[in-house]
């Protein structure tokens, strides 16, 4: 082999490119995990400063429904929270969001102004859930006319129909939906679209489908038809409660299913007259789909959960439901992790008056003709581009649960933002991919003096605070009495102080470093290292504390004077700034990272189509 064959490769890791917005964005675990990229640490700091209105608006820009989400969000941010890796529990991000909503002042003057002169484009939004409402919110300030079609008499989609009022008061819902509708959205409530083709013949420049996953799954086991009068599909039953068509239920109620809908069903049943309400689920407890906190809330109200119970038969006597027969099962996991539920041979009958079925939801598009250029896949779901949200028919967009099946509100919001960008580009004849705005980012030093930072860098040793609850004596009697009372001002402050300010980044300047080790010595979590470079696996293993969490990056500098590199494991950094305080040369600085999310109407750029690079 001649020497020209040898390609000289740099040995070890390449220096981290901190100008890539994704690098520091990933360090802000909560924001990175949030589909709408809500700037969590920033609004938590505002809450600590009791600037509730500012915290609210910052949320509103990203996630559109802070008051609603502050009570109901599936909280992808919390499992991601760095604090949860340092100790057991993450910051109560979701409930702090509610604090911003609860204590805000009137925000009407802060909402975007809607241009009186429209841009001549008309958009149809089908379904008035969070996805469509987000599209409307993003497009109305740009001068679009939005027409919102909804089969129910009021807007909100599943936020109104499926989330019971003891978790989400109507007032909160009406206010936040109102902010959007009051922008001048033309509402066609009570108008169900039965033919997309017919709608397309109307002069719309684009159509957004945000109809959710409205069909609750049924269970076809013996006795199903005979007991029909006493068997209710969970989401339909919740909807009929929301519109006050249903006001009571039998004394003995069995809920089938282990998801969040099942939790809402059992708790609602308890409030409508149920005395013996029980939840049954096929899988073992640990595999239940419901969020831990929703299971806890149901159990706190005294509702037992029977896991490993597979329904076999509705027992009917004299044409009336008597109970349900279950086979006890056991989960067996194959080598590939695949689970099968094996009957133990034991059977049990739960006597009951009513059954609520909450075993999942399906999409249903009977109203979309299959010959109008919208492709459907083998599961009868539309083919939707996951960047642009557009279907195979140009100008028809999907979002929320309608796009890829049941998710949650915050995903619907994220879809809505992306669809709005696409609709805006589409209506202006621009390319949906290449002309798409890029995410932006900025870094700003937080240094105010030798020991003064523009953020509160001290570490709080408090463990997570529980949200106070209303007395059961009150809540179990009144469907509309909110169970969670929310943090008060003082608890909110203490909980906010638990936030590590992960958006205040440790920025390292190689040329200023004299390798005195001061930062290594002071770092409370041993994340800073000066060592020889190496390939990532090797380097991770050689750090002061080996960096085992591979989901977290290693921040690597260029080569220093001694030939070593600086390698920082981002995993458990407290963002306390002690490295920067102990640095004699300012080679470390604490800089606030601000991520600018892509939106059709970017923050700070009201009423214009300005994209932030």
């Amino acid at each position: 082999m001649s020497s020209s064959d040898v390609t000289v490769k740099p040995r070890g890791m390449r220096p981290t490119d901190i100008t890539d917005p994704d690098y520091f964005h990933k360090v802000v675990d909560c924001q990175w995990a949030c589909p709408a990229h809500t700037p969590v640490p920033e609004y938590i700091r505002l809450i600590a400063q009791r600037r509730y209105t500012d915290a609210y608006m910052l949320n509103w820009e990203s996630n559109v429904f802070p008051g609603i989400l502050g009570r109901t969000c599936d909280r992808p941010c919390e499992p991601a929270c760095r604090r949860g890796r340092l100790e057991e529990k993450p910051v109560a991000i979701c409930r702090l969001k509610r604090v911003a909503a609860d204590y805000r002042d009137d925000v009407s003057g802060l909402l975007p102004r809607i241009p009186r002169k429209k841009n001549g484009k008309r958009i149809a939004l089908i379904g008035a859930g969070p996805a469509s409402l987000t599209v409307a919110r993003d497009l109305m300030p740009l001068g679009y006319k939005c027409v919102l079609f909804e089969k129910d008499p009021r807007g909100g989609g599943l936020m109104r129909t499926n989330i019971p009022p003891f978790r989400l008061p109507e007032k909160v819902l009406d206010e936040e939906i109102g902010y959007i509708l009051d922008m001048g959205v033309e509402t066609r409530f009570g108008e169900e679209i039965t033919s997309l083709n017919a709608l397309l013949e109307d002069e719309f420049d684009a159509v957004f489908v945000g109809t959710g996953a409205p069909r609750g799954k049924d269970l076809n086991i013996p006795g199903r038809d005979d007991a029909d009068a006493s068997i209710h599909i969970g989401i339909d039953w919740l909807t009929s409660i929301a519109f006050e068509h249903t006001t009571k239920i039998g004394k003995r109620v069995v809920v089938i299913g282990g998801g969040n809908t099942a939790m809402d069903c059992c708790r609602s049943a308890l409030r409508l007259g149920g005395k013996d309400v029980r939840v049954t689920v096929r899988s073992p407890r640990g595999d239940m789909k419901a969020s831990d906190w929703e299971i806890e809330d149901a159990e706190r109200e005294g509702i037992p959960i029977f896991d490993n119970h597979q329904p076999k038969e509705f027992v009917v006597e004299n044409g009336k439901l008597k109970g349900i027969k279950f086979a006890r099962v056991e989960a067996v996991y194959a080598d590939d992790g695949k689970r099968s539920l094996v009957p133990t041979g034991e059977e049990v009958v739960f006597e009951c008056d009513d059954v609520l079925m909450a075993i999942g939801q399906d999409n249903a598009f009977p109203w979309i003709e299959r010959d109008i250029g919208i492709d459907f896949n083998e599961w009868d779901m539309p083919t939707v581009d996951n960047t642009t949200m557009m279907s195979t028919r140009p100008g028809v967009f999907f979002g929320g649960d309608a796009a890829w099946g049941p998710e949650n509100i915050i995903w619907a919001v994220a879809h809505g933002h992306q669809a709005a960008i696409s609709i805006d580009l589409y209506c202006h004849g621009r390319d949906l991919n290449t002309d798409r705005p890029l995410a932006g980012a900025s870094l700003a030093s937080q240094k105010m003096g030798i020991h003064e930072w523009a953020y509160d860098n001290d570490y709080s040793e408090d463990t997570r605070f529980d949200v106070p609850h209303q007395d059961h004596k009150i809540t179990l009697k009144d469907l509309k009495a909110e169970v969670e009372l929310g943090f008060d001002d003082e608890l909110a402050y203490l909980e906010a102080e638990r936030c590590l300010n992960c958006d205040v980044q440790t920025v390292f300047v190689r040329d200023l470093c004299i390798e005195c080790d001061a930062c290594v010595d002071i770092c409370p979590v041993d994340c800073i290292n000066f060592t020889a470079n190496g390939e990532e696996d090797d380097l991770r293993g050689r750090l002061r504390v080996p960096a085992r969490n591979e989901a977290q990056d290693i921040y690597v500098s260029d080569v220093l004077k001694t030939g070593r590199i600086m390698a920082k494991d981002e995993d458990l950094c407290l963002h306390c700034g002690l490295c920067a305080e102990r640095c004699p040369t300012g080679a470390w600085d604490m800089q606030k990272f601000t991520y600018v999310e892509r939106q059709a109407n970017p923050a700070g750029q009201p009423n214009c189509m300005a994209y932030v690079k």
């Binding site: 005195c516 001061a518 002071i522 409370p524 002690l578």
Partner: protein, 351 residues
């Protein structure tokens, strides 16, 4: 300095020693020295060494005098005994404490002012008496606490921050230590923990007077281009005489070296020092060779580091005086005061 407390939270995967402690358990208060001070790195190296030695902190006594260096015992081992003495008088305190309780480990931390100026006499006598202690000088060549005057260890060629020339030759504390009877003499650099930690471990385990001269740059007054005690100068002029591995008692020897000569020095307590020499000309067991090497290298402008001299015969003051094996606070009353009959016998022997 830092106003906020160093958070107590620590990395959950932090290694634990035989006592179930992490290195964080050997820390002290947050330093109030200037940011970037070499002394803080030495404190961190002491923490690391004590952690690795599985030392119970309450079996160690920290002793110091006055100066930036003498403040540092506050910043490590906050569960150990401590005594902050009069300027330059730490060796007297150490001597007294050591005679009273020979079971504790004594760690003296001093600076170039405290040792080479006001405390020079005390320092010399402690060595001559072979007090069983580790004596560290955090040597930055300057009186940092009084704003940067030359100290007695500042090299003649090394100018002040403002360009003022130094009229006097420097003491070489290692030369002095070898001449006056220190059994263990080493020099290191605050910016090289890889070298420093094993040296501190061996010094703490050495039975006799173990001296470490640690170049520790003063970032505020003596870290400029014309200084020979700056981070930059020491890094570029550092000549390591040998790499030391400290192998505690009962532990298998795992370090492997490919070239050069390795000298194994068994220690009093059963542990082993393995020195991998990088210079064939000198033998750290030979005082003459060590002194010659120090002088030669100094003339070449080099900063010689590593274990420079080791007296394998670890004799200390207790052995020379043939004192009791027990610390005085453990000697029983009847032994301490054997009664009139014994006194009469002793008196009689002098008649």
């Amino acid at each position: 300095m830092t106003y906020m407390k160093k958070p107590l939270v620590k990395h959950p995967d932090l290694p634990k020693n035989e006592l179930g402690l992490t290195r964080r358990d050997y820390e002290g208060l947050v330093s109030t020295l200037c940011a970037g001070c070499g002394h803080d790195s030495i404190s961190a190296a002491i923490i690391e060494a004590c952690f690795e030695l599985d030392l119970p902190a309450h079996r160690l006594a920290k002793l110091s005098g006055i100066g930036c260096s003498s403040k540092t015992p506050t910043y490590f081992l906050n569960r150990s005994h401590g005594f902050n003495s009069v300027h330059g008088r730490m060796p007297s305190i150490a001597t007294g404490a050591n005679l009273a309780n020979r079971d504790l480990i004594y760690l003296g931390v001093s600076g170039d002012g405290d040792t080479a100026s006001i405390g020079l006499g005390q320092f010399c006598h402690a060595m001559r008496r072979r007090i069983n202690m580790a004596y560290i000088v955090e040597n930055n060549g300057t009186y940092g606490l009084t704003k940067g005057q030359f100290s007695a260890t500042n090299d003649k060629v090394s100018k002040s921050k403002k360009g003022e020339a130094n009229l006097f030759e420097a003491f070489d504390l290692c030369t002095l230590a070898i001449q006056l009877g220190a059994g263990f003499v080493g020099r290191s650099f605050s910016g090289d923990k890889g070298q420093l930690v094993p040296l501190i471990k061996a010094a703490l385990r050495y039975n006799g007077f173990a001296f470490l001269d640690i170049i520790s740059p003063c970032v505020t007054f003596n870290d400029h281009d014309a200084s020979t005690k700056s981070y930059g100068h020491v890094r570029t002029h550092n000549e390591t005489m040998g790499r030391l591995d400290f192998v505690p008692k009962m532990q298998e020897i795992t370090a492997q070296y490919d070239e050069g000569e390795t000298v194994s020095v068994p220690m009093h307590d059963g542990s082993l020092m393995r020195l991998h020499k990088l210079d064939d000309e000198y033998d750290p067991r030979d005082a003459d060779s060590a002194l010659a090497t120090l002088r030669k290298r100094y003339e070449r402008g080099q900063v010689v580091t590593g274990l420079l001299y080791i007296d394998e015969d670890e004799a200390d003051l207790h052995a020379l005086l043939n004192t009791t094996q027990e610390p005085l606070n453990a000697v029983s009353m009847d032994k301490l005061c054997p009664g009139n009959a014994v006194l009469q016998k002793i008196n009689k022997s002098f008649r």
